[in-house]
Symmetry: C2
Subunit: 293 residues, 2 copies
């Protein structure tokens, strides 16, 4: 069952992630506790799962990709901590638990976010690899280009600046491609860099990630309107309440569902060149459109 | 004159720093402007200057260390932006100019800080080097270990937690070693890693940086009490007003001056093994104790 396979990958990534956190007996206990609080709050671990599946498809040893899987999830987690701050989205709850700044205060939440972004760089540069260091450096560059102003941070800026404005479908796509899409893309491209994959292979995996990212986002938007609060673990209708443009608000339910199916199909097709080896990533794309949370 | 030599190094580092900033015509103009605002606000560029002088002493080509000099200053700058936030020190002025969040708002200041820390990782991983990549990776690890929870961020946490408390000289030293000392140490140790320096050389340069860092901090504390506002470009007496423990408040003026001279002497002595090649770093240590701002 794909659900079990996904779970196994997610658990492996979590183990590496928890292992990479600063020792809780450290002198700076407060910030280490705050970092661990958000990292341990759970989540789908989607990005590490894609990364580990891609590594397996390419034949790249898990040991070589694991530090990057942990780092990618640290970056994702820091972005959530900073997004939730009063100066940003001002959210009190995430995954059914009080947000970082509610528990640890604003100053410590800012530092916990900074600490996780910094730890991502420490983790990937401090690990042992059995591949050439040039490839590791290239993978570091892929990861941090995806999370920087040309990627995730840039998307967050555009998102903030378009709040309360009517935006087009193209503008919505552009925001999501950066804000959430670039880290999903990095989940596929980092193993490519570590493996030394050629352009054709890298392009195919990039196309898979980009289409999967769009489908994933549309599914999120649909669940926020038509999902079940209990299964979601959060209230539905938050996008409408926050006056946020979504695939549903711009295109309507039917067209959003059609687009989701279309991008899932495109994601799967992108991997045709890998044949049977792509089975896990293909199943993952199908599985994600059927999720209830 | 050492002042001219320092200025020349600082200008070289600034050129590299400005070149590494995101293109101002980028889509995320606001955050790029906010990042550039603080980077271009000036400063001594002490850390890049130490790094470039150390590289020269070792015989390491400037091209190989330049991306790290820019990255180190980006990290220093991001830490100032986040430190100034209302949730942290709540400062309105820095270097005689309104702080980042006063000009760009809190959300953008948080993202500009994140963007600079992220850009540091992008800059060092995206550059071309004429040395083995293993050494570059080791230098990346030196840099980000110094700026993380075991270094600068950790020092900031301890500093916040000791506000309003009476602390001992040893506790004060421990805070400064992490909060400002570790980045100064990285300025010396990153070129060591890039050069592939042996343990003895690395230890000598580390000792220089640590002693210089202490002397630099004592000088800061003295200037805050006995300096001239006009020359400093900021008000004197801010430490006392903020109820901050300093070398002056704990030891008194005379003992602080003695300690500053002692650590400057130790810094210079650490480099004895380099003979004449250490002349610039030796002069820098002397120069810094005589500064008026």
């Amino acid at each position: 069952m794909i659900a079990d396979i996904i779970k196994a990958y997610a658990q492996k990534a979590e183990q590496e992630l928890f292992k990479s956190l600063p020792d809780k007996s450290c002198q700076q206990k407060t910030v280490c506790d705050a970092m661990a609080y958000s990292v341990e709050a759970g989540g789908k671990r989607l990005r590490p799962v894609i990364m580990l599946m891609t590594a397996k498809m390419l034949g790249l040893s898990e040991d070589n990709v694991m530090p990057f899987a942990a780092a990618l999830e640290m970056i994702h987690t820091y972005s959530l901590i900073h997004d939730d701050l009063p100066a940003m989205d001002n959210d009190d709850l995430r995954r059914g638990k009080p947000t970082n700044h509610i528990v640890y205060g604003e100053a410590m939440a800012i530092l916990a976010g900074d600490g996780l972004l910094n730890l991502a760089a420490e983790t990937v540069s401090d690990a042992s690899y059995s591949i050439p260091s040039e490839r590791v450096l290239k993978a570091v560059c892929e990861l941090f280009t995806a999370s920087g102003t040309k990627g995730m941070i840039g998307g967050q800026v555009t998102d903030i600046e378009s709040e309360g404005k009517k935006i087009s479908l193209d503008e919505l796509r552009a925001i999501h491609l950066k804000k959430t899409g670039m880290l999903i893309r990095a989940a596929g491209r980092v193993p490519c860099a570590l493996f030394g994959a050629d352009e054709k292979i890298t392009a195919a995996i990039t196309a898979y990630c980009d289409n999967l990212g769009v489908a994933f986002q549309i599914c999120d938007d649909l669940l926020d309107v038509y999902g079940d609060s209990a299964e979601l673990g959060k209230n539905v209708g938050s996008d409408e309440a926050n006056d946020k443009s979504t695939y549903v608000s711009i295109c309507g339910k039917e067209e959003a569902e059609r687009l989701m199916a279309e991008h899932t199909r495109l994601a799967k097709e992108s991997l045709a060149c890998f044949g049977e080896k792509a089975a896990e990533l293909v199943s993952l794309a199908e599985y994600l459109t059927k999720r209830k949370n």
